[in-house]
């Protein structure tokens, strides 16, 4: 799978003398198994980009290519694309509606016109992927906790066997354990099932732990496309555009300032721990 944005722009007044752009000349490609995070302040153009990726919005210029084919070309099957590029909206639990969890997850495959047997197989597999036990099949989705409801919603998208999964702030409003749970599951989907993931997030701490690649938007343009480590080196520039680095990165900088010989590109607790222990070990030996 290859999903490409090629010089895409979006403007609400493209014919004006000086058009205002929500997205301006953005290009990148997402491939199988990649775990990307998309960050940017409110209004930076993230949501517009995300909607290009599965054809919900059409750019005013530029192309969106799925495996090399223009998805806005004539007769391109957008419906099939939306199964292959699954989008999980913010607060997806508000979209649950069926009487039982199994029925809710079957909704997608049913709409794809798959036979009943296949619907069930897919729904059950999706439940397994997100870690919902079999005993939940006949439960009402409304009896579940916030984190569990979100799993059901994600399973509903997974049941359509997407090759790329886009999640818009899947952890908003969840407690810390619920956050780690959902992101751990998404990470496994990417590692084991080879699903490409685009995670829209406001948590720098989360993207530092889970993402391999960071796409940073500001005022409609893509300002960074690199590993989280390389992006967080620019923590001062990130602050200027309404973002920040993980708290650990600030800890590392504070230690360096104090005079510690620390690698200040650390960004997770585990990395910082290893680095500090190394310093103390070297000092003692």
């Amino acid at each position: 799978m290859e999903l490409t944005l090629k010089n895409v722009s979006f403007s609400y007044n493209p014919d004006a003398k000086e058009p205002k752009y929500a997205v301006k000349d953005v290009s990148f490609t997402i491939r199988d198994g990649e775990f990307c995070a998309l960050i940017g302040h409110t209004g930076s153009g993230k949501s517009t980009l995300v909607q290009f990726l599965n054809g919900l919005m059409e750019p005013t210029s530029g192309e969106v290519l799925f495996n090399g084919e223009n998805i806005f070309g004539k007769k391109y099957p957008l419906k099939t694309l939306r199964q292959k590029v699954g989008l999980v909206f913010q607060y997806p639990e508000h979209q649950l509606f069926e009487e039982t969890i199994l029925k809710d997850i079957c909704f997608g495959p049913k709409n794809m016109g798959l036979p009943k047997e296949e619907q069930l197989t897919r729904a059950r597999h999706a439940m397994e992927l997100v870690g919902l036990p079999e005993s939940y099949e006949e439960k009402s989705p409304f009896e579940l906790s916030g984190g569990e409801k979100r799993r059901v919603a994600i399973a509903g998208v997974l049941a359509m066997s997407p090759e790329c999964l886009i999640l818009d702030e899947p952890t908003a409003g969840l407690d810390p354990a619920g956050r780690d749970d959902i992101l751990g599951t998404v990470r496994e989907l990417s590692d084991q099932e080879g699903i490409a993931v685009v995670l829209v997030s406001h948590s720098m701490e989360d993207v530092a732990v889970y993402a391999e690649r960071l796409l940073v938007m500001n005022s409609g343009t893509l300002v960074y496309d690199d590993t989280p480590r390389n992006v967080f080196r620019h923590y001062k520039e990130l602050e200027e555009i309404g973002l920040s680095a993980p708290q650990i990165t600030y800890v590392a900088h504070a230690l360096k300032e104090k005079g510690f010989d620390i690698d200040d590109s650390v960004m997770t607790i585990a990395e910082a721990k290893a680095e500090i222990l190394r310093i103390f070990r070297e000092r003692n030996s």
């Binding site: 906790s145 407690d175 619920g178 973002l243 650990i248 721990k273 103390f280």
Partner: protein, 283 residues
């Protein structure tokens, strides 16, 4: 003086199946006793479903006790016939900024509360002006709220509360949907209101970093109050917090992890500076 007095509060609700027959009684709040001092900044932590929001909704009588009592500014929420006066004392700000804004111009939105309280027009304008100034949104007075960022919308929602001159503001995860800067804006605004106006703040959050500057941190689990202390005291109990689906600020966890490896660091380190200092002293 205590602005909020909660005594042996119990809240139960019944669940029904599809035939409307009662299936079970759920106890969401299980015997909570708690006093909140006027002018304090209290953060409430707890996993999803631990009872935090249910507790907060009792303070301004959005929910009423099944057992026990809740007093706000000396008024019993069960006995009062003056719900309006009671709610005027405790404004509430919710998670989703878009669900709380009702007018098409910022100043009208801020005026909505006091207008309903019957504040006369001359005074109303003054109140709106002051409230917007307080949250740093005066420049947006005539704007349409839907063009604002999430953090700005939450500040408008807070201004709407302020215009009603509450003694206490209850905030239920006001930063859950905001970007890092929006989060900082809102938390800073709330701290200023607390310090400068003496408004009591009850902040529910899942971001541990936001609890660090509170006067007091309360942790709920299973409808009960399981911890109550200063941020330093509460965040020293790393294992217990993790056991109930919580965590601690990243720097606190790093210090805790290093301590486990034998570095002699103090418990409950809360800030980057504190950590750097403590580690340097060891070095």
């Amino acid at each position: 003086m205590n602005i909020i007095e909660i005594l042996h509060l119990i809240h139960e609700y019944k669940e029904y199946d599809e035939n409307e027959t009662e299936t079970e009684t759920v106890r969401a709040i299980d015997d909570v006793t708690l006093s909140i001092e006027e002018g304090s900044f209290v953060t409430i932590l707890g996993h999803n479903g631990s009872g935090k929001s249910t507790l907060a909704k009792h303070v301004n009588a959005l929910l009423l006790p099944t057992g026990g009592t809740v007093m706000l500014c000396g008024q019993d929420t069960l006995k009062t016939e003056e719900l309006w006066t009671l709610r005027k004392n405790a404004g509430m700000v919710f998670q989703n900024p878009d669900n709380q804004i009702i007018a098409s111009v910022v100043e009208e939105d801020v005026a909505f509360g006091p207008e309903n309280l019957g504040v006369p027009t001359e005074k109303l304008e003054k109140r709106v002006e002051q409230a917007l100034e307080r949250v740093g949104m005066t420049a947006f007075r005539m704007n349409s709220p839907n063009r604002l960022s999430g953090g700005q919308k939450q500040r408008i929602a807070i201004a709407g509360m302020l215009a009603m001159k509450p003694k206490c503001i209850l905030m239920d995860e006001p930063t859950a949907m905001l970007d890092p800067v929006g989060r900082r804006e809102v938390i800073q605004t709330v701290h200023e209101l607390n310090k400068q106006e003496g408004i009591t703040i009850l902040l529910i959050t899942h971001y541990m970093e936001e609890a660090v500057d509170a006067d007091r941190v309360i942790v709920m689990d299973g409808g009960r109050l399981i911890m109550d202390g200063t941020p330093k005291e509460v965040f020293s109990r790393v294992e217990e917090l993790k056991a109930c689906h919580m965590t601690v600020p990243q720097v606190t966890e790093l210090a805790y992890e290093l301590k486990k490896e034998g570095l002699d660091l103090p418990d409950g380190i809360l800030t980057t500076e504190e950590f750097a200092e403590a580690l340097w002293n060891l070095h």
